[in-house]
């Protein structure tokens, strides 16, 4: 029984908040839905809020890295926000560095990173 995680659109960014304990198929669906929506809406940023996530295992960790890589190819930046300290400690021990994934402590800071990138991009155009 796999569900769809809702994806919100705020201006040029997409926002996903992981609220419940997701099964693997739902995680895969989210990865595909996000890529499709980045293209559909020409999104410049993706924010994944994991404040409510009690764990991040290798499967979810891989999803975060893949979303970041795919979004980058589609010209959008991904920021993961709200990682709990216990989750960070566990990820390191698991051996997962989440290389290539930008993180911020909270949603506000995550959106600030994306806004900065957007204005730098606009100036360069």
């Amino acid at each position: 029984m796999s569900d769809r995680v809702p994806i919100l659109r705020i201006g040029e960014n997409l926002l996903v908040s992981i609220q419940i304990d997701l099964d693997d198929q739902t995680v895969m669906n989210l990865q595909e839905d996000l890529a499709a929506q980045v293209v559909k809406y020409g999104a410049r940023g993706v924010v994944i809020d994991i404040t409510a996530a009690e764990i991040v295992d290798s499967f979810v960790g891989r999803m975060l890295s893949t979303i970041a890589s795919v979004s980058r190819l589609l010209d959008a930046e991904t920021v993961v926000v709200g990682m709990r300290p216990a989750v960070a400690i566990t990820l390191v021990e698991l051996g997962l560095s989440l290389g290539g994934v930008r993180t911020a402590l909270n949603l506000e800071q995550g959106l600030a990173i994306l806004a900065k990138r957007a204005s730098a991009g606009a100036a360069g155009r």
Binding site: S2, D21, F59, R62, I89, E93, G95
Partner: protein, 140 residues
């Protein structure tokens, strides 16, 4: 690391046959970790290890079960989780336990990571007969 013989509380069993069952196995691990009053970091480590092992039971073992219990030895309390399947077994345990090796498309971190995240780790496998992995997390 070997698993000692502690006193065992009531054993709770969760079948692992679907990816929803992997979620339920995590919940069983979390409930036991909370009842044991493990620290928040240790709860997180145990549930993460449980998630990795439950997924392996499903994906490589073809399904199986988790048996979880609170345990107690002379000095401390703990949570013991045993994942069992009647799948193909693991031909080369050292290889399977090395970081980054996967026979499939995984990152090869589940088994080795679970060993690091647990306090005690025990793996028994017979090719053609199945695999049993037991982990314990103790209160400090």
């Amino acid at each position: 690391m070997t698993v000692a013989e502690p006193d065992v509380g009531e054993v709770r069993v969760q079948t692992i046959a679907t990816s929803d069952d992997v979620v339920r196995a995590r919940q069983l691990a979390r409930n036991l970790a909370v009842e044991c009053r493990l620290s928040l970091v240790d709860q997180t480590k145990l549930v993460t290890a449980a998630s990795e092992l439950a997924r392996n039971t499903l994906v490589y073992g073809g399904g199986g079960s988790l048996s979880g219990a609170l345990v107690q030895d002379a000095r401390r309390r703990g949570v013991r989780l045993t994942f069992t399947d009647q799948g193909p077994g693991i031909p080369d345990v050292d290889l399977a336990l090395s970081d980054g090796w996967s026979s499939g498309s995984g990152m090869g971190l589940g088994l080795s990571g679970a060993r690091r995240l647990a306090d005690d780790f025990d793996l028994r496998t017979t090719v053609g007969a199945g695999t049993t992995v037991t982990v314990i997390k103790w209160t400090h």
